[in-house]
Amino acid sequence: MKDLYGRLGSRGPKDQAPVERALREQSGDRQDLLDAAFVLSDPFRKQQYDDCWKTLVLVAMIRHRFGMTQTPLWCTQSAGDFAVVPWSPGLAAQCLPFDAEAPRLQKSSLDGGAGPMLPRA
């Protein structure tokens, strides 16, 4: 599966302006533009594509974080565009299926000890 957003200069489903501009100006690979117009302009197809895109980006970021970007099973198959996606907190927040945001905590409370749960300043 191609990363249509990345190929058209967008950072993801919430960053629509670059996609619209690329389609309006017909700038970029013709096949990519055709695919983007067909997939991203239809609400049902876009929803399906976006769900899968989020999963692939999340998987790719976790792999990158754990140094698993070189295993052939992932890189050489259909998810080639997602082979290397560096970790990005903002992108991760877009992709994780949490239902609500939560208050931030001090990192020090992660060590399993009895540290206080303080909001981050």
């Binding site: 599966m1 191609k2 990363d3 249509l4 055709l34 695919d35 117009a37 067909f38 997939v39 197809r45 399906q48 594509y49 769900d51 899968c52 999963t55 692939l56 999340l58 998987v59 976790i62 792999r63 974080r65 754990f66 698993m68 295993t71 099973l73 992932w74 198959q77 259909s78 998810a79 970790w87 907190p89 991760a92 927040a93 994780l96 299926p97 949490f98 239902d99 609500a100 945001e101 939560a102 208050p103 931030r104 905590l105 990192k107 409370s109 992660l110 060590d111 399993g112 009895a114 749960m117």
Partner: protein
């Protein structure tokens, strides 16, 4: 540190997460897994850590998961992978009727590939799944190329035809279609095929075979097992 275990947990969670999953559900699932797989003091310490995680931002949560040491054996991981894969497949097929058959599983297939990758560094997990399903005559959902206009055009016509056909079904016929989908069979499946496929799922999901897994995973597996049993019972009725 065992990053593979942390990855597996995150991926298991993603694989189980078709819709929104509450933080509370996720934390409870993790906490009970820890209680089952660690000595009491370690489990208590990790559980306290997990409960703090329930208020973390997503990126902090993954950091925390990655820093945990989980002492599962490779056999336990394999068993967990197999049951996760089996459950995900039943879930995916049960949801097939709410959308195009080859669209819904796409994200799940990528997650399964990731699970297989994380588990073995190769394709053993996925190969095991594919081979087992092939032997049992169960259709394995393939990942469609959702980014391709040509792929969408190739499936849109069959989907429309399926929807038209389903509108003509009676309630009983619709139930039969759903039950066959749970087992991974087509509408023209014979009773022999139904029995053979049912035995395949029983071998994978029977509670006796899942005893080494954490209790919550067992509970989910049991629910899936009963779903398969119910489907088979209805299909056997004349």
């Amino acid at each position: 540190m065992d990053h593979t275990d942390a990855t597996l947990i995150v991926m298991l969670w993603v694989a189980r997460c078709d819709g929104p999953l509450s933080r509370h559900e996720f934390v409870e699932l993790l906490a009970s897994s820890l209680r089952a797989s660690h000595p009491a003091p370690t489990a208590a310490r990790l559980e306290a850590c997990i409960r703090r995680m329930s208020t973390l931002q997503p990126e902090e949560l993954i950091d925390a998961l990655a820093s945990m040491t989980l002492d599962r054996s490779i056999e336990q991981r394999k068993a967990q992978l197999k049951s996760a894969v089996a459950m995900a497949m039943v879930d995916v097929r049960a949801g097939v009727l709410s959308g195009p058959a080859d669209v819904l599983p796409t994200a799940a297939v990528h997650v399964l590939r990731m699970l297989a990758d994380a588990l073995s560094g190769g394709g053993d997990g996925l190969a095991w799944l594919t081979e087992s399903c092939r032997k049992a005559g169960v259709r394995v959902p393939l990942a469609g190329d959702l980014s391709s206009a040509a792929w969408w055009m190739s499936i849109d016509a069959p989907i429309d035809a399926d929807r038209d056909r389903m509108r003509a079904y009676t309630q009983d016929e619709m139930q039969r279609v759903r039950d066959l989908a749970v087992l991974g069979l087509e509408l023209d499946a014979t009773s022999e095929q139904i029995e053979q496929t049912f035995r395949f799922w029983v071998r994978l999901l029977h509670p006796d075979t899942l005893r080494q897994l954490p209790p919550d995973i067992q509970t989910i597996a049991e629910r899936t097992y009963h779903r398969v049993q119910d489907a088979r019972r209805r299909l056997k009725k004349p």
